[in-house]
């Protein structure tokens, strides 16, 4: 067994230190070391998007990032999306549009959708569908998810104006 490595990072705005096996993924560290189980493992191979997090501003599958690569970097997960007790507009719209059933893919889709709206505040339906094509949902057929994201985008644009 190789020795564990200490990693210092900023997760959801807070500084954290954790020990990790050199082969462990960022997803493993988030879930097992930091207790942030909102990011899910659906495949472990970057195909389902359930583990989506934002690493230094970039949307990644945390199952494809080594935990040691988080050293000195900023990680945003689903647990940091609501501010205090206040839901993000995307979270609120997912509830209003019934854009989730089992909810397992929901954290990853919300994180991915937030990343979309940061680079494209006014996405078309096609742009939204292609951006979220890396996030599998087996329950909803995506219809209500796409509507919720586009509705959230519209509301965020109003807030900005």
């Amino acid at each position: 067994m190789s020795k564990r490595t200490q990693v210092s990072a900023v997760v959801n705005g807070d500084p954290v230190d954790f020990l990790t096996d050199p082969g462990a993924t960022l997803l493993d560290a988030l879930r097992d070391e930091l207790g942030l189980t909102g990011s899910k493992e659906g495949c472990g191979s970057g195909d389902c998007g359930a583990c989506s997090v934002i690493l230094d501003g970039r949307l990644v599958c945390s199952c494809l990032v080594l935990a040691v690569e988080a050293e000195g970097r900023r990680v945003e997960t689903i647990e940091g999306m609501a501010e205090g007790g206040r839901l993000h507009i995307l979270q609120q719209k997912f509830l209003e549009h019934a854009a989730l059933q089992c909810g397992f893919c929901t954290p990853g889709i919300l994180v991915a959708a937030k990343a979309l709206l940061e680079v494209n505040p006014d996405p078309t339906e096609s742009e939204t569908r292609y951006w979220l094509a890396g996030n599998l949902c087996r329950c909803t057929g995506y219809d209500k998810i796409i509507r919720a994201v586009m509705d959230a985008a519209a509301e965020l644009r109003q807030v900005r104006v």
């Binding site: 067994m1 096996d21 082969g23 879930r31 097992d32 207790g35 942030l36 189980t37 909102g38 990011s39 899910k40 493992e41 659906g42 495949c43 472990g44 191979s45 195909d47 389902c48 359930a50 997960t77 689903i78 647990e79 999306m81 609501a82 839901l87 979270q91 997912f94 509830l95 209003e96 549009h97 019934a98 989730l100 059933q101 089992c102 909810g103 397992f104 893919c105 929901t106 954290p107 919300l110 339906e125 096609s126 569908r129 292609y130 979220l132 094509a133 890396g134 996030n135 599998l136 949902c137 087996r138 329950c139 909803t140 057929g141 995506y142 219809d143 209500k144 998810i145 796409i146 509507r147």
Partner: protein, 764 residues
Amino acid sequence: MSDVLERPASSAPLDDGRLKIVGTRPIRPDGVDKVTGRALYGADLAMPGMLVGKVLRSPHPHARIVSIDTRKARALPGVKAIITGADFPELADEEYEAGESASNLRDLALNVMARDKALYNGHALAAVAATSSAVADEALSLIEVVYEVLPHVVAVEAAMADDAPVLHDKLFTGGLKEKPTKASNIAKRNEIKRGDLAAGFAEADVIFESRYDTAATHQGYIEPHACVASMASDGQCQVWSSSQGQFMIRTYCAKVLDIDASSIRVTPAEIGGGFGGKTTVYLEPLALALSRQSGAPVKMVMTRDEVFRASGPTSASVMTVRLGAKADGTLTAADVELKFQAGAFPGSPVGAASMTALACYDIPNFSIVGYDVVTNTPKVAAYRAPGAPISAFGVESAMDDLALTLGMDPIALREKNAVHDGTKASYGPTFRNIGYAETLEAIRSHPHYSAPLGPNQGRGVAVGFWFNVGGESTAAVNIAEDGTAMVITGNPDIGGSRASMAMMAAEVLGLPIEKVRPIVADTASIGFSMLTGGSRTTFAVGMAVTQAAQKIVEDLKRRAALLMDVSVDQVDWIYGAAVCTDVSKGKADLSLADLAAKSGQTGGPIGSQISLNAQGAGPGFGVHVCDVEVDPETGHVTILRYTAAQDVGKAIHPSYVEGQIQGGVAQGVGWALNEEYVFDTGGVMENAGFLDYRVPVASDLPMIDTVMVEVANPRHPFGAKGVGEVPIVPPLAAVANAVRGAIGKRMTSLPLSPPKIRAAIDAG
């Protein structure tokens, strides 16, 4: 876009037109947990001192297990337990009824852990528990298994051949007039017949016949199977797991390990999708056995590779369908033969596929013969309307060709032969309160059906049927001291059932929805319920919830009468308050909160529990229309537009009914276009991951329009029918029929992958 069509003529007992909550769209009670990452699924629980459990799986599709030597693995530091088939009791060959499907317990136990033979690539041979994932992996690599590799068979017709390798030397084909003397992979032949087939075909002006095949597909839930289990030294067991039924997990663990059911407490985790695939056990008995040996809690989580190789899928199939009709479209005869792959043990859904195949049609003469065939592939598990999408693909494709041959509109042909109230269904009972005609009409009159099509585009129609079930269910309603309510049920919430449970209780109690909290309880905290499956929960558990709430209302009226000092027949319950109907008495209304605060004076805590066996689940019918465009260069199919109409009885929470329909359509589209198990010649699945087993992604689909037809089911207090399964039945054929329209060729083999479509176009 969504529409609701109502037929008020047959309304349900409690639907008096004054419903305040049922039929509205409140935010689901578990929603905030799910959008914030708080909701805890199977893999999200950690217990102190917990070990990691992993499974050694067979690399061969068919092999005799000569020996398993675990000594080197046991010697590895950090390894705390190792189990093989020898650690489990030998079980009797008995059937156990559980929800939609019966399970043979011996087969179930052998599927969980092989004994003498490995029957598919991925079959569990041994399991270890260790202090870390890395140690567990190393331990697996140190287990030495000696195999005698046997010839294998994957394809269903190959497995039926006389010279096929035989999986089970004591399996003799059931359902034959004479018991065979030779073991066979054909576990069972089933047959449903009516009238005189030969006479029916002799009457026909047109006869159409074709052969169809479908590939094995996986349920594809995004959450892999996962559990944490602990067995203490006194034999008391705790299981936390993601499944479609905590009582099912309890039963199967008790049987496989020979433990009293009452010694196993199963707590349901949130379930990350099931679609039928989580109606059985894989990991839980192993985790308990590892915990028993190690003395520590054990967590087991499947990889996606394991999910594909060792859980699910549904059957691959080969079918023939022969239809006879008069020139005016009247069906005179139908002859259907279904051959279904069961995987390593008997139990494909060919029985349900047979019963549903012609359920939408009133045909005087028919024969449906089904074969349940074992193969060296994972044992199939239930998948949403098990079997029905497969037989519907064959029958609905044939109906489409029949309509073309007759020059009839495809909906007109179906209307001409549709079942109605009073029709004796092909599978036996007489239909009552069905909304099939209304559902056909909903699509015929929908703007989608008459919208223009462009070049390389086609439109397909298909219909589908599912029984829906009721069954044993328990629900409790307890009133808190402030007059708010808890609704306690024993059914995992897959698609929003907690919302519908709370809504039905709130409607009866007259409380705002926010004052009613639904929970899904562990097996020690609520009475037995059959698992979440068969589209039964909103119907059957909803019936228990409604009756429990009604019982409370009766009790509240009694309590109010005591406090008001009037007789109980002078008290009514109106929108959450007891009202004295005799105005002359001048009694103030008593709200639920008032009555709860004074419960000590009127008999103590307010609560009720109802256990029932719900009967009268209304069958469901769906009619779908799909537009596609086929790229003639690549053979790629794009779904341009999709509209699904379904008789839902009464939509308790319309958004989640729409969601069920949309989700079923998406899965059906995947089944039609992309999804398939691909095996190499060595019997190993080549595409055991989401990159190569391609489920539909957001960019593959358009919005999916739904039309909820509400023909009430009078057996349910609010008129509900099951809705979750019907929507996966029509899409396979709806897509194939649309492709037929686009390319002018009939595709009879699923999935309709680009190479197949190119080949069909190139064939000219």
